[in-house]
Symmetry: C2
Subunit: 224 residues, 2 copies
DNA sequence: CCACGGCGTTACTGGTCAGTAACATAGTGT
DNA sequence: ACACTATGTTACTGACCAGTAACGCCGTGG
């Protein structure tokens, strides 16, 4: 087990460097626009080592997408572990994640969705990874809203899901437009559909996070 | 003006054929994935004629996007001409258009958004066309909801806009998932935010079109 | 009948890209 | 010290692709 101890301290092994470089370049410039040479160079290695770790560019693409998927899944698991048996807190955590994603990752949108647009061949292995991931996320939203006692969990989950997807695609098409207001939309939508019994508690929670988010013109339909 | 009269009857001039071929191939396989040779061949012509009409592939891409934009704009203008001074009817017409787009164009989503994902270079002329178009659509929605007397036209327009965008991107990522239910969402969302005075009239209108759409589980939150 | 413009055809250039071969090197465990 | 393995290096192949050159064809308009 104790191999390459010193090397690991200085710089990660080539495989990790390649994946990191691929991730950066694929996301910034697009998958089809980036050649393996560029990735190898950005990873401070060469094409041969790349091909020893990933048999083909397609394999590298799959590994790239699977890494993204794993991180997305990890985030959800962390949410569940951080607020066990508190689906409302998990929802709020997810909304904050959405907010963060839309404020820093600006410009390039969702790497998974972009990959799906670029890899159009229906039999490409990447498509399966993406589809599985997106379906999983949508189902997790359904489960979450269901656990939180929402009346129509599927409907709310779909709406929230599509708003988030729409925000990340239109951040690439529509200059600084609707995407920036999506967090406000999410909060107001969730408040509208929240289980009736806990409306007050939820309103309090929302008010707290709104305060730190810097409220401008009221979320309307809330205080009335 | 009267030139090539007989030819036009048999088959459209090369420029139109090239644009039509480009449109089909770009949309189905992606812009980067399609070479000019393939387009020329699909247009039953050759690369030289293509380059005589479009100086470069980028120019062809721009022409392709501008054609798409023009058709989108025409649709809106037709809506305004068909139902002058009746913004509610225009809204309903737009929703029906959304429904139609999401049922037949299945699989490939929005050609404009896909193009934006593929053309990542910020200075690419295509990006300007796409951005202008999307911004225009969003603004037209705002104006429409404003004319229809909605209380928060910007908010409703943004939400509707993002739902539609989200539906068209996730139709490519998430197998047969949330996208199919977006029309229901739109109708219920619009009903929720419609100007209070006309709630009954709008409900009647919605009920009429719901009947033909084949209602399953109720739109909820409406009849309560 | 002739000139001209739009179109077709072939062949080419220069560049990029995925993938491979062969060889050299350095670190590790024994 | 030795062998093994992971890595680096160089150079190559074959394919594809955007864009161009040169020439030939044909219809129209004078």
């Amino acid at each position: 087990m104790g191999q390459t101890i010193k090397n690991a301290a200085v710089q990660p092994p080539p495989r990790e460097r390649i994946l990191a470089a691929a991730r950066d370049l694929f996301y910034r410039h697009g998958i089809r626009a980036v050649g393996v040479d560029a990735i190898a160079e950005a990873a401070a290695t060469n094409k041969m080592t790349l091909y020893r770790h990933f048999g083909s560019k397609d394999e590298l693409i799959s590994a790239y997408l699977q890494e993204l998927a794993k991180e997305g899944d990890d985030l959800w698991q962390r949410l569940r572990e951080t607020y066990p048996d508190d689906p409302h807190a998990q929802i709020e955590g997810w909304v904050q994640h959405v907010e963060q994603v839309l404020t820093d990752c600006s410009e390039r949108g969702c790497a998974m969705a972009n990959a799906a647009v670029e890899m159009r061949e229906i039999d490409h292995p990447a498509r399966q990874i993406i589809d599985d991931y997106k379906t999983r996320k949508r189902d997790q939203l359904v489960r979450l809203f269901s656990e939180a006692g929402y009346g129509e969990p599927e409907q709310v989950a779909d709406e929230v899901f599509l708003l988030f997807e729409g925000a990340r695609i239109s951040i690439q098409c529509c200059s600084q437009g609707p995407a920036l207001r999506v967090v406000r939309m999410l909060r107001s939508l969730l408040a509208d559909h929240a289980p009736k019994v806990e409306v007050e508690a939820l309103a309090a929670r929302d008010a707290a996070s709104e305060r730190k988010a810097g409220a401008k013109s009221g979320t309307k339909s809330k205080e009335t």
